[in-house]
């Protein structure tokens, strides 16, 4: 195991984050705060509480998930896409670094950043709405699993993309709609019966459900199902990454 390489990649990516602190941290915090002002205070006060939780508090887990998913994907995808784009990837390809080490470095850094960001948003939310976290360890587990899984997804997108527009495309056309439709702002049982069935095909539902359970003890699907599905996504993303490195797809001519 080339741990020096993992550390080098991880450190490089974290340094990039520090350089872009404004857009990395401030902008998600500002936009999430706006959600709280609008949905929590302004509109939320007219919406009845969901399962005994005020609407403003109810949407906190979903909002964190929304940021987590977007940040993980955009971070990790940019991290690997940019060297491909600029040509500096030559160094990584010629170095004695295995796929596992590469992924540990890039995905590890991206996930770290997402987790920190999730916690910052959580702290921001606490300023606007009364928060309660029933199962903090479960909360952290879902935070970590989700960050890692979607950083892997981002990594794959960064390998797949052949232009900056494509890099934006997946988050915009897939991730964001899935999150909005995945129960970030409502409980699934508020949907008409047919859409409740359709929603179960949305992976984000399981993430949000498990995450919200760790806060308020209420979930759309059973905790075991949430955890199982989350792990399943993680494994699927891992398998895809392994395949990519095996074949050299988009990396080697």
């Amino acid at each position: 195991m080339n741990l020096y390489a993992v550390r080098a990649i991880y450190g490089f990516e974290m340094a990039r984050t520090r350089r872009t602190l404004m857009q990395s941290v401030i902008s998600p915090v500002v936009s999430t705060s706006l959600y709280f002002v609008v949905f929590g205070a302004a509109i939320g006060s007219r919406i009845p509480s969901v399962g005994g939780v005020s609407y403003g508090a109810f949407i906190v887990p979903g909002l964190i998930m929304l940021s987590l998913l977007n940040q993980s994907v955009s971070n990790a995808s940019f991290g690997i896409y940019f060297p491909r784009f600029s040509g500096t990837i030559y160094e990584l390809l010629s170095a004695p670094v295995s796929p596992v080490e590469t992924v540990l470095g890039y995905v590890g850094a991206s996930a770290t950043k997402s987790i920190v960001l999730g916690l910052i948003i959580l702290a921001t939310a606490a300023l606007f709405v009364p928060l309660q976290i029933l199962h903090p360890l479960w909360m952290l587990l879902f935070l970590v699993l989700t960050s890692v899984t979607f950083s892997l997804v981002g990594f794959i997108i960064g390998l797949w993309a052949n232009g900056f527009d494509q890099l934006q495309l997946v988050p915009l056309l897939v991730i964001t709609p899935l999150t909005f439709l995945g129960g970030s702002f409502y409980a699934i049982d508020m949907l008409p019966p047919v859409w409740q069935k359709v929603a179960l095909f949305n992976p984000v539902v399981y993430l949000v459900s498990g995450f919200r359970w760790s806060f308020y003890g209420q979930a759309d699907v059973a905790l075991g199902t949430s955890l199982g599905m989350t792990l399943l996504f993680l494994l699927a993303a891992l398998a895809l990454v392994v395949w990519i490195f095996r074949t050299g797809w988009r990396l080697k001519a």
Binding site: A15, G87, S94
Partner: protein, 342 residues
């Protein structure tokens, strides 16, 4: 001297169907400076990229100090440093950070003293805290060299180190490469400037259209360069090369159906016995209509080889056009140079 790099039967066909390398065999000796000389598109970058693991081979094998680049890739890659053709760097990193990063990437524990030494030797130490974007082109190239040296490689690849670089920078780069030899680093550089190969290399390999067509000691190549030829047009055709007492037997040759007599001599040898030759010819009553001297530059050899290998089967007419070489034992013409291919 032992070989540090062994390339055996390496071919590469890109997904586009283009075959960029045709069965290349090449051995690089430990500690030498080897120049891979060839026109644009010859396959130089492909060969280097393949050895470094950036391009996967279609067939053949490469060993670096005994380590197969595919089976034993970790050990093989750890020995190699690569300075790419393009100036690809991260813009916002600092000089010191990016060189330190490279060392880590190649699995070496931190060694600030060594990094400092490398940066100093490349006149980059004063710039260590500068962002890369603020460096000049020459500095960027030196930075890429520093990155490639950061993990103390035994083999350094320099892909077109002086392409598009002004004269001063080119001199600087040459000095740098020579200083690498003192570090016991084996250097393999690619270039399409003959002058560059001539200036720096111990051995020169000529590649064209994916085929390695000649590998030779530079001295031998220079020796050919050192030869001059005196071509004499004769009044009457001769049936055989005249035997003259004062002229070495191998240095005379007949061409153009006996109408031209070619004398090959060393440039250094002050006429190389031309006076004796002419006197001898006069004594033998061989009348000369006209005469001219020619000298072959490395460029001529190169162009001849390239044309020879490009026009595959049209070697024979080429050879006829190059009568200057016949009879001179150690000199190969465009045609028989392909016979030198290992």
């Amino acid at each position: 001297m032992t070989d540090i790099l062994t390339i055996e039967g390496v071919s590469k066909t890109y997904a586009s169907g283009l075959t960029a390398l045709h069965h290349v065999d090449l051995s690089i000796r430990r500690g030498e400076i080897f120049a891979l000389l060839g026109p644009n598109g010859a396959g130089k970058t492909t060969l280097i990229s393949l050895i470094c693991g950036i391009v996967s081979p279609s067939s053949g094998s490469v060993r670096v100090d005994g380590h197969d680049i595919q089976r034993d890739w970790r050990a093989a890659r750890a020995l190699i440093g690569l300075v790419p053709q393009e100036l690809t760097t991260d813009a916002f990193e600092t000089v010191l950070a990016t060189v330190t990063f490279s060392r880590g990437l190649f699995g070496k524990p931190p060694n600030p003293a060594y990094i400092e030494q490398v940066l100093r030797s490349l006149s980059l130490w004063e710039k260590r805290d500068s962002k890369i974007i603020a460096l000049s082109g020459g500095m960027k190239r030196r930075l890429l060299v520093a990155k490639a040296l950061s993990h103390e490689p035994q083999v350094l690849f320099l892909d077109e180190p002086t392409a598009g670089v002004d004269v001063t920078l080119r001199r600087e780069m040459w000095d740098l490469v020579r200083s690498l030899r003192d570090r016991q680093v084996t250097v393999i550089l690619t270039t399409h400037y003959i002058e560059e190969a001539q200036e720096m290399a111990d051995r020169i390999g000529i590649i064209n259209q994916g085929r390695l067509i000649l590998v030779e000691d530079k001295q031998v190549l220079m020796h050919k360069l050192g030869r001059k030829q005196l071509t004499m047009e004769l009044q009457q055709p001769l049936a055989a090369v005249p035997v003259l007492p004062c002229v070495a037997p191998g240095s005379l040759a007949l061409t153009k159906d006996g109408l031209e007599l070619v004398f090959t001599y060393e440039r250094e040898a002050e006429g190389g016995g031309m006076a004796e030759l002419l006197a001898g010819l006069g004594a033998a009553s061989i009348a000369i209509r006209d005469l001219r001297t020619t000298q072959r530059s490395l460029e001529d050899i190169f162009v001849g080889l390239i044309e020879g290998s490009t026009a595959q089967d049209s070697n024979a007419p080429d050879a006829a056009k190059a009568p200057d070489l016949s009879g001179a034992s150690s000199v190969s013409s465009a045609a028989d140079a392909s016979g030198v291919v290992p």
